[in-house]
């Protein structure tokens, strides 16, 4: 029958129209469908049906651990009265070399005797140029640069606000543990493993050392960099 296809299509739209209200009824009396963390969790998952819209900025999508936005620099946890601790960055320049759009500028520190100091004197990232590819964090041998989860960086003036200096970029390691707990743990384990390997090597040369905390196979299974770790 001519027109049957349209009627069938209308039936589907009507079903979707009705379904969009089912969740309202389901969450009735349980805190409502919107502005409710439990309901948001369901709306974001495969179980979501009907209207799946997230009401940004009142509601926000959760971001996975690997989510990457403009990088930040890792420092030790700050001591009392300090804003940051010691930089993890050794100013080796790998991130600046690997950066595809070349948005990282590093000025290496110098010791009083004129030799290079393993610490950056200045560190700039032009976030207008940064493409959030994550290669700097991927290839940093010291876990000193990490991709942030803070994606709300809008500002009124690009010429002054969009070049982040070392002060703006530095964040303590506790922040990284907070936003990416599993990843931070895996990285710490891998660092421990590398450290104890070094000690073992030294032990062979005559100094004392202790066993690695994790067996090598276990470290390899840590998911975050596949075989790399």
């Amino acid at each position: 029958m001519y027109g049957l296809g349209i009627v069938r299509g209308m039936a589907i739209t009507f079903r979707n129209f009705v379904e969009s209200y089912l969740d309202d009824i389901f969450w009735w009396g349980k805190g409502g469908r919107y502005y409710n963390d439990a309901a948001l969790q369901v709306r974001q998952s495969l179980k979501g049906q009907g209207v799946v819209t997230v009401f940004y900025p009142e509601e926000k999508l959760s971001v996975p651990e690997r989510f990457r936005f403009v990088p930040f620099l890792v420092t030790d946890d700050p001591g009392p009265g300090q804003k940051w601790g010691h930089d993890w960055c050794t100013s080796c320049g790998i991130c600046a070399k690997v950066c595809p759009p070349q948005c990282i500028w590093i000025k290496r520190g110098t010791q009083p005797n004129g030799r290079p100091k393993p610490e950056p004197e200045q560190f700039f990232i032009d976030i207008d140029i940064c493409m959030n590819c994550g290669l700097c964090a991927e290839f940093c041998p010291f876990d000193a640069i990490k991709m942030d989860h803070d994606y709300e960086l809008a500002s009124y003036d690009r010429t002054t606000a969009h070049i982040h200096d070392k002060e703006r970029l530095s964040k303590p390691i506790s922040y990284w543990r907070e936003i990416a707990p599993k990843k931070a743990e895996a990285e710490a384990a891998a660092r421990d493993f590398a450290e104890s390997n070094k000690k073992k090597k030294k032990a062979k040369d005559g100094e004392g050392g202790d066993e690695p905390r994790l067996a090598e196979e276990k470290v390899r299974q840590l998911p975050y960099r596949g075989e790399y770790y």
Binding site: Y2, G3, L4, G5, I6, R8, G9, I12, T13, N16, Q41, Q44, S45, L46, G48, V52, S62, V63, P64, R66, F67, R68, S91, G93, I94, A96, K97, V98, C99, P100, Q102, I104, W105, I106, K107, R108, P116, Q122, F123, F124, D126, M131, N132, C133, G134, L135, E138, F139, M147, T159, I163, K182, R220, Q221, P223, Y224, R225, G226, E227, Y228
Partner: protein
């Protein structure tokens, strides 16, 4: 389905045992003795053909040797030899397999090569691109104008001695970044408005008509209304610009249309508004640094783009990809295809007038696929996921609070099939959809091959050609799937091909999931990831993949021990599929233009590069 491709080679007559490419090459050498020779350069394959013999060789390839599909035309600047080169990749639709590559070298000061448009109309835009970016003159081309840059552009930017306004160094990393590193914006050195050069004799007037008279002239219409005085009725032929700012053009894309009433007489696509010279950036960049840039080509299927580029460079580097990485690659690429087709079909229906409804139903599902990509790669769209010899990360533990494998199983076994079925019920038999799309924008089998169409466009015209079957890469040979082919070549058949490809991609993903479970914990990259990658030997490589939009090819050449490509060319399916747009639209109404363009499924990031 053509048996010639699906059956294993060697099952028929003894001559099929020989490689068709070698056969064609020896036949060509026999027919053109002394003129056609093997490429003598280290690491290069194919033939060197003198410019005056090119048309004859192309005709012989097309008509007698079965290499009837011109995939890619690439211009190369060989500045050290003082030469410009055009590289042609031709494939056989029936036999499949790899390419017969023709290299034509001409003097850099007088670069004239006969145009292949009379042989393959699909060479049209590609030759214009080579003229625009490298200044190779194609003798006999019907419409040799700039295509990606504008008319007031000075020079040919892909020549090695051309320097961009914010030029710093030939290759990255730039010396200024470390260890001296005082931050500096490029525009501080090169103030806006003072970094533009115009060709000799060019006066920028600001009047668009002065700039583009040539383009309007080529459509055959005067700028003034022309009155075609027939006996009874007087009709005006008028020229109308559709776009660049128009919601139905899927981006900043313009069509100059000559109309007779409501009927299209001629149509010329105008592009380049999003041009950023991706290829020049690629030649400045390191091999690794190019991967995130390929995301930005066809930004609806970034992981597929990654794969094409990585395959090309892996040929140069000789990497071996571990098993688990290959399965993850296929998983992500096929999910990308699903996400892309959901978008393409949704937008096609949008263009047909089914405003938003089918599109939004499909978006909900696409979002779930992007959720998976976000948990896997860290980004929803610009994934930057492939690496040379593997992938960047292993599968995550969980996605949106659900274990990964559980999520994927539920997605491909329940959620997506349900959504595709719903879409099928909603659209396929809808009378309005059928009335608007059947018989619109027809390309015959012969035309679609001649115009170098690719992907669903080709397969809707009855050509059974898919790179995954014709020249299998990754583990596609081990997987069981079909190539959907339809024979009418109209908009409706393109829609049907995409709908069927959704099912086939799901079928592939379902076969991949058990392998992922079996290889859990296995390495995902060959060796230790390294950022300092250098090519062990010089040479050229062409990597091609079946992208959702069609065949995506990367032509990469490098010198020995070099950290960045010498020449980096993208064979962009969206761009080349547009070649036939004018032909498809002729005789249809204005409203059909929008539908036909929607059925090509273009992404301007890839068209303009």
């Amino acid at each position: 389905m053509s048996e010639a491709i699906l059956e294993a080679p060697g099952s028929g007559a003894p001559e099929t045992l020989a490689n068709p490419v070698e056969q064609a090459i020896s036949a060509l050498k026999e027919r053109f003795p002394e003129a056609v020779v093997d490429d003598p350069r280290d690491g290069y394959s194919g033939l060197v053909v003198p410019a005056d013999k090119l048309t004859e060789v192309a005709l012989a390839l097309r008509d007698d040797l079965g290499f009837d599909y011109l995939s890619s035309v690439t211009g190369v600047d060989l500045i050290e030899d003082g030469k410009l080169e055009a590289v042609y990749h031709t494939y056989s639709i029936d036999k499949g397999g790899s390419a017969v590559v023709l290299h034509v070298q001409v003097d850099r000061d007088n670069p004239v090569i006969p145009s292949l448009v009379p042989v393959w109309p699909g060479a049209d835009f590609q030759e214009r691109e080579a003229w625009d970016l490298l200044g190779i003159q194609f003798d006999g081309h019907p419409d040799l104008r700039r295509i990606l840059t504008w008319d007031g552009f000075h020079g040919h930017p892909l020549r090695k001695d051309w320097k961009e306004p914010f030029y710093e160094e030939d290759t990255k990393p730039f010396g200024s970044r470390w260890p001296a590193g005082g931050v500096l914006r490029a525009e501080e050195l090169n103030p806006y408005g003072q970094n533009v050069q115009y060709p000799a004799g060019w006066v920028p007037t600001g009047d668009e008509y002065d700039v583009e008279t040539e383009m309007y002239a080529i459509t055959g219409a005067d700028l003034a209304y022309s009155i075609d005085a027939s006996q009874q009725m007087k009709t005006d032929k008028i020229t109308v610009n559709l776009g660049p700012q128009h919601p139905s053009t899927h981006g900043v894309f313009r069509m100059v249309v000559q109309l007779d009433g409501e009927t299209v007489v001629d149509l010329k696509p105008v592009m380049g508004y999003l041009h950023r010279n991706h290829e020049k950036i690629g030649e400045r960049n390191t091999f690794l640094g190019n991967i995130p840039y390929t995301d930005r080509l066809d930004y609806l299927s970034p992981i597929s783009n990654n794969l094409g580029y990585v395959l090309a460079v892996e040929k140069l580097l000789g990497s071996v990809v571990p098993e688990r990485a290959e399965w993850i690659r296929i998983l992500t690429v096929e999910l990308t295809r699903i996400a892309n087709h959901l978008w393409a079909i949704g937008f096609l229906l949008n263009d047909l007038g089914a405003l938003q409804t089918p599109m939004l139903y499909f978006y909900i599902e696409r979002e779930l696929i992007l959720d998976f990509f976000e948990a896997l790669t860290g980004a929803r769209m610009m994934n930057n996921y492939m690496r040379f010899g593997g992938v960047a990360y292993d599968l995550p533990d969980e996605i949106r609070g659900q274990a990964t494998m559980e999520f994927l199983n539920e997605l491909v076994h329940e959620r997506l099939p349900r959504a595709i079925e719903q879409g099928d019920n909603l659209m396929t038999h809808n009378e309005i959809v059928r009335a608007r799309s059947i018989g619109v924008g027809v390309l015959t089998r012969k035309e679609s091959i001649a115009y170098s169409m690719a992907g669903p466009m080709l397969r809707a015209s009855g050509v059974n050609y898919d790179v995954r079957k014709a020249e299998p890469y990754s583990y596609y040979e081990q997987l069981d799937f079909d190539i959907p082919v339809y024979y009418n070549g109209d908009v409706y058949d393109r829609y049907k091909v995409r709908m069927d490809e959704l099912q086939q991609s799901l079928r592939i993903v379902r076969q991949v999931l058990p392998h992922l479970q079996a290889t859990e914990g296995a390495p995902i990259i060959d060796g230790k990831p390294s950022y300092a990658i250098r090519t062990p030997q010089p040479g050229e490589a062409y990597g091609r993949v079946e992208n959702p939009k069609g065949e995506l090819g990367f032509y990469v050449t490098a010198k020995r021990r070099s950290s960045s490509p010498e020449r980096y060319h993208v064979r962009a399916p969206s761009f080349i599929n547009l070649t036939s747009l004018g032909k498809m639209c002729q005789g249809h109404k204005v409203a059909d233009i929008v539908v036909i363009l929607g059925s090509i499924d273009i992404v301007l990031g890839e068209v303009d590069r």
